[in-house]
């Protein structure tokens, strides 16, 4: 299978799975009196359309993908997972610190800055954390 078509066939399969999951998930939804469709109607119509789109993407994957983006290899995917982990770290740190979001953001920025090979990692991340804390907690009182 050509590399490019993977990025269209996989979404096609995902769409088909999603359509089936929605259809199954809406079976327990209540109907309106006299048997008219209720909350399940819109998701079911979407499931039908998703299935059609999924079949279309799977059987006729367009040759054109976004050529402006580079192909990601093993290390690239690892770095992306690193970025995702950094952001998830924010969720872990956020409830445990007295200054809340700013500390989580400082850690995230520190990680991304290290990855981006910035020399002054600590200064960059600390400055970003302080600015965010001052802006949101101080100036805007959010």
């Amino acid at each position: 299978m050509p590399y490019n078509s993977v990025y269209l066939r996989i979404p096609g399969i995902v769409f088909l799975i999603l359509a089936a999951a929605i259809w199954l998930g809406t079976r327990s939804f209540p109907s309106l009196p006299e048997g008219y469709p209720g909350p399940e109607l819109f998701p079911n119509v979407l499931a039908f359309l998703l299935a059609l789109a999924g079949i279309g993407l799977f059987w006729r994957p367009s040759a054109e993908v976004d050529t402006t983006t580079q192909r990601l290899r093993g290390t690239g995917i690892t770095r992306i997972l690193g970025g995702l982990s950094g952001a998830l770290l924010f969720l872990l740190i956020n409830p445990w610190t007295s200054i809340g979001a700013a500390a989580g953001v400082t850690c995230l920025v520190c990680g991304v800055a290290m990855r981006a090979r910035i020399r002054a990692v600590l200064i960059t991340s600390a400055a970003t954390g302080i600015v965010i804390h001052l802006l949101f907690s101080g100036l805007l009182a959010l």
Partner: protein, 492 residues
């Protein structure tokens, strides 16, 4: 009651700067800016509080484009319609030029919206009152069909992106029976997904992830003359473009006005239809300037026209005007047709403020924000990347102070990375999320009140006109699509 007092001038200036800050920071919106201003408005006179709100909302809507220009993060769903074009334009022609088009286009749209507000508020409000669920349903369909055909060569991908957005909009309590759908046992999902968090993930965080993965060390070179010839780039160039494309600006503003004055429809559909029409009818391939101009003029025209039903019928056109109605009540002013007879001085102050906000504040505060944005773009890319990451996380968290929004933002960033690689347009996901609830609610209301008679959707004259517009969009879209494919074949 005097308009030119030092307090009111100060309120306008502070309101504009405050609006610019909220518009430019991802996650902060014009609605949030106005909401945080309401406690302050309680202590101010109506002639100061209301102009300040106008300044905040007008400038914040424009400043939402700053994120698009710097980091492809649109501030509102309406600005998602032209975010790619504005970002590319800011990179290729300079951020001052890109944001100059945005500020001056917004300014012209806002002025046209104000003139309509001043000239025909009562007549338009009467027309808005004739809109029922059938018409709203067709308007949502019009917005969705415009979104599909605005997606470029690959209609199937645009359609798929739209379906993802529509699917995300089904999370939460359904509009018919109030039945909770797809909430996975988490009460936080009952209110639905926040589209701002989704938008930040789709556009902003995916960009960070992509550049981390690809190991990008420098961004595509920004236009060198960011600070040189500032006045020429920000004012002269965009003004020349607006003069050259005045028909487009007027047409797009009219779209914005038309949708803006319909309570609940919002500015988003107008902006999407205006951009889509420009993309479909474009004779040249490189029409980024025209698409941005169409979107921004429609976007800001709707800000003014959203006040039409609020002032003349007491019905909010959007969330900002809903809060404005609260301020009216707080100050003992009752909105409605009598407002135009009993409170004429206040009405003139509002019209005057809209004109000042669009004629003076947008161009001046616009230049200030564009210069700051220009400086941000000159930062080394490896320094900009962690700052964008921080802005994404903080922006998503600031919406509701809910870590769940950060989780949704992260997830959408990862999904967007896959979608981008497959060439799926991202803006259509946002459009689907925004229009999904409008479409479903008005379809269900129409179906139930007509006892599920499908013909009832075609019986009302305005509904028929809107349906005709949908059919015209589809036909125009198919013709344009075929023309694009033929052009591609010839090109190859």
């Amino acid at each position: 009651m005097t308009f030119v007092s030092w307090e009111s001038v100060l309120a306008l200036i502070v309101g504009a700067l405050y609006g610019a800050l909220f518009g430019a920071v991802p996650g902060l919106t014009a609605t949030l800016a106005v909401a945080l201003f309401i406690p302050v408005a309680f202590f101010l006179d109506a002639t100061i509080a209301l102009p300040a709100i106008i300044a905040i909302s007008s400038v914040a809507i424009y400043a939402g484009d700053v994120g698009s220009a710097i980091a492809r993060i649109p501030g509102t769903p309406a600005s998602a319609a032209y975010a790619d074009e504005l970002h590319n334009l800011s990179r290729s022609r300079g951020v001052l030029y890109g944001l100059g088009i945005s500020a001056l286009g917004s300014s012209v749209g806002g002025i046209l919206g104000t003139l309509v507000l001043a000239g025909g508020a009562l007549a338009l409000a009467t027309l808005a009152a004739m809109f029922s669920s059938f018409e709203y349903f067709w308007i949502a369909v019009l917005g969705l069909s415009a979104g599909i055909f605005a997606s470029g060569r690959h209609l199937l991908k645009g359609f798929a992106s739209l379906l993802i957005g529509l699917l995300l909009s089904t999370v939460g309590v359904d509009p018919t029976l109030g039945y909770p759908r797809f909430h996975f046992g988490n009460p936080a999902f009952l209110g639905g997904l926040d589209y701002i968090a989704v938008m930040i993930g789709l556009f902003g965080f995916s960009e960070v992830l992509y550049h981390m993965g690809a190991g990008t060390k420098s961004a595509p070179a920004a236009h060198a003359s960011i600070h040189r010839k500032a006045l020429s780039n920000f004012y002269a160039g965009p003004l020349k473009l607006i003069r050259k494309t005045r028909k487009l600006v007027i047409r797009s503003s009219l779209f914005g006005i038309f949708v803006g004055f319909l309570p609940g429809a919002g500015a988003d559909i107008g902006s999407w239809v205006a951009c889509s029409l420009e993309k479909l009818t474009a004779k040249r391939k490189k029409n980024e300037e025209r698409v941005v101009l169409a979107g921004v003029s429609s976007n800001n025209a709707a800000v003014a026209s959203a006040w039409i039903p609020a002032l003349s019928l007491g019905l909010p056109g959007d969330t900002v005007t809903a809060m404005v109605l609260g301020v009216f009540m707080m100050k003992g002013v009752t909105p409605g047709p009598l407002l135009f007879q009993e409170q004429m001085p206040l009405i003139w102050i509002l019209f005057g403020t809209f004109l000042i906000a669009n004629l003076l504040l947008l161009p001046t505060v616009g230049l200030l924000t564009a210069r700051i944005a220009g400086t941000a773009l000159r930062l080394p890319f490896n320094l900009l990347l962690p700052i964008i990451a921080a802005a994404c996380v903080t922006g998503a968290y600031a919406i509701n102070h809910n870590p769940l929004d950060v989780g949704i933002m992260i997830l959408m960033g990862a999904v967007a990375l896959m979608l981008r690689r497959g060439g799926f347009p991202l803006a259509q996901v946002v459009l689907g999320m925004v229009l999904g609830p409008i479409l479903e609610q008005h379809f269900m209301v129409s179906a139930i009140k007509s006892n599920w008679n499908p013909l009832s959707f075609f019986e009302r004259p305005i509904a028929l006109v809107l349906m005709g517009a949908c059919v015209a969009t589809v036909i125009l879209g198919i013709i344009a699509h075929k023309r694009r494919l033929t052009g591609r074949d010839k090109g190859s």
